[in-house]
């Protein structure tokens, strides 16, 4: 039987009730969200369930929405069921003051560096991660550069003239 988005949705609501919510299908990919404390339970269920079998973590990253009070940071998981060739997207939201999220490294070895990258750029604190430190930026950096409060430099500024290198 083909694994449809409708079926995935039913399986998830059977298991988690109304805790999984906001089902949408932008460009055909089923997207939903869950409370941040449940992220591991949802991932484990998607992994273990004999019908769903989402066992490949394609991608993991964060998005910063400064206007969403108390849910500023979104952590987005892209999962892939390689047997039935179905992809889904799963989001959790967390407040920026306490960006603590459980790590998925126990389930997926590849989550290690992806979570380090997410921590490096957004400051999401993955609880239980074996070695949560910066990966692409220098270790001395004391801010999280992909957050929206750090805009790119204004290209029209004129106070930075440099005889040697120009602007």
């Amino acid at each position: 039987m083909e694994l449809t988005n409708e079926h995935i949705k039913t399986r998830l609501t059977e298991k988690f009730g109304d805790q999984v919510s906001d089902f949408v299908e932008p460009y055909g990919m089923l997207t939903f969200e869950a409370p941040k404390g449940l992220n591991l339970k949802v991932l484990q269920f998607l992994y273990d369930d004999p019908e769903l079998r989402f066992r490949f973590l394609t991608d993991l990253q964060a998005v910063h929405y400064p206007e969403n009070k108390e849910r500023e940071l979104a952590v987005v998981y892209h999962l892939h069921n390689l047997t039935d060739n179905v992809r889904i997207r799963f989001k959790i939201f967390t407040a920026i003051e306490s960006p603590d999220v459980y790590t998925a490294t126990q389930l997926y070895a590849c989550a290690n560096w992806m979570e380090r990258e997410t921590y490096d750029f957004f400051g999401v604190n993955f609880i239980g991660h074996p070695d949560l430190k910066r990966i692409l930026n220098v270790e001395e950096m004391d801010y999280f550069p992909m957050r929206k409060e750090f805009p790119l430099e204004d290209q029209t500024r004129i106070d930075k003239d440099d005889d040697m290198f120009g602007r």
Partner: protein, 415 residues
């Protein structure tokens, strides 16, 4: 043993750092600038003699904040950023990005554009694999094969030059198609490549595939099981070498790959030799695809044979000479460049089979002229974390060939 060494150093008055004899292991830096790493990444190895006990990989030496920069650039200006991810096969990255934008904007491309793209992407795959495979040769001590096949990469670069004007960082194509049609020189050069390359590839294969020295060096080096590879997020030839037949071109066909007849080569043990074999076979399959695409393009007649972009003036950057002479083109050029075209809000994930795995683009748009957030799924960033596990208990010389067989590209890893 330790006692003997301590006594020996006392007798001969040799002064060593405290505890260095008792520890009996050496900490060794492989990289960041070492000829064997083929790029800037550092590995801190703990070795006992020549055997590796543990390794720690450090990346990020050429991080250029592409994701941040992309948050201010309009869509068409992000293409040059994608060039600099996997620069051994930049056309694939460019096409992947164009297709992501097309998915977001709802643009459908004509069949001829798809086939032209397939030709370019498969040529890029050949250049990518040719480098990786010949570099495995170099690291096992066979330099001549590398120099030999480089001539043929040159032929491919000349084809790119005819189409987009540049060679390594190509910035090829536009949203909706290509900037210009392939000219007669480009087709002639493609024919020349298709005629000459198979012979060279055969010779390349003969030099390494059944070569006793090469086999002895590569068989059993850095093996990984399919299950472990999937858990580590492997994709591309490295995953297929373990026996898992996952290929984005087949699983989620894009750019009309479903119209072509080709096989997915798979390995069994996932060691260096299998990776080499898979890449080698993929080059033959790529040649098959290019020939099919070339034939299909010949079948277009009349007006269809001149199509090289979709008819979407609101997103397709018009040619510069028309901008100067035609009112329509000037208006669209202005609108696209000044960001006045309607870009729908939404989120889209699109992936293509890059040179070393599934290259994904996760694009969130809030309707402005540039993305709200753009994330690149860079395959080699994800699978490189398995490297310490692959080389554990291996010899130091094996660490070098395992690294080159993974096809690590620093530009892609660090984004």
């Amino acid at each position: 043993m330790t006692e003997d060494l301590l006594q020996h150093s006392r007798e001969h008055n040799i002064k060593l750092p405290e505890g260095s004899i008792e520890k009996q292991t050496t900490t060794l830096n492989l990289g960041p600038t070492h000829p064997a790493t083929h790029g800037v990444f550092q590995n801190i190895l703990e070795v006992d003699g020549e055997r590796i006990i543990s390794a720690e990989a450090t990346v990020g030496y050429i991080h250029r904040a592409f994701e941040k920069i992309a948050e201010r650039r309009p869509l068409y200006q992000i293409t040059p950023l994608t060039d600099r991810l996997n620069y051994c096969s930049s056309p694939i990255n460019n096409m992947g990005w164009h297709m992501t934008c097309e998915k977001l904007l709802g643009v459908t491309t004509p069949k001829r554009v798809d086939y032209l793209r397939v030709i370019i992407m498969e040529l890029a795959r050949i250049t990518d694999h040719v480098i990786c495979n010949s570099v495995i040769g170099v690291d096992t001590g066979a330099l001549s094969v590398f120099l030999y096949v480089m001539q043929y990469r040159e032929l491919v670069y000349e084809i790119y030059e005819e189409i987009c004007g540049s060679r390594l960082t190509t910035n090829i194509g536009r949203i909706g198609g290509f900037e210009r049609n392939f000219n007669a020189t480009a087709w002639n050069k493609l024919e020349k490549f298709l005629k000459e390359f198979p012979g060279a590839l055969k010779e390349f294969e003969n030099l390494l595939q059944r070569n006793r020295i090469f086999i002895d060096r590569t068989v059993g080096a850095g093996p990984i099981t399919g299950e472990r590879a999937l858990n580590y997020g492997f994709t591309g030839p490295n995953l297929r070498a373990t026996g898992v037949d996952y290929d984005v071109r087949v699983q989620t066909p894009y750019s009309s790959y479903q119209d072509f007849d080709f096989a997915i080569p798979v390995g069994t043990t996932g060691d260096v030799y299998d990776r080499w074999l898979v890449r080698n076979q993929e080059m033959w399959e790529s040649l098959k695809i290019i020939k099919q695409a070339y034939q299909k393009i010949q079948e277009f007649k009349g007006e269809e044979a001149e199509v090289f972009h979709a008819n979407v003036p609101e997103y397709y950057l018009p040619p510069k000479q028309e901008v100067y002479t035609k009112m329509e083109a000037l208006i669209w050029h202005f609108k696209i460049v000044m960001g006045e075209t309607e870009i729908p809000a939404g989120e889209v994930y699109h992936s293509v089979e890059g040179g070393n795995g599934e290259l994904g683009f996760y694009l969130i748009s809030d309707g402005g002229r540039s993305p709200y957030r753009l994330h690149f799924r860079r395959p080699c960033f994800i699978y490189y974390q398995a490297y310490p596990e692959l080389i554990k208990n291996a010899m130091l010389a094996d660490a070098v060939i395992v690294m080159s067989s993974l096809n690590l590209i620093a530009g892609e890893m660090d984004a």
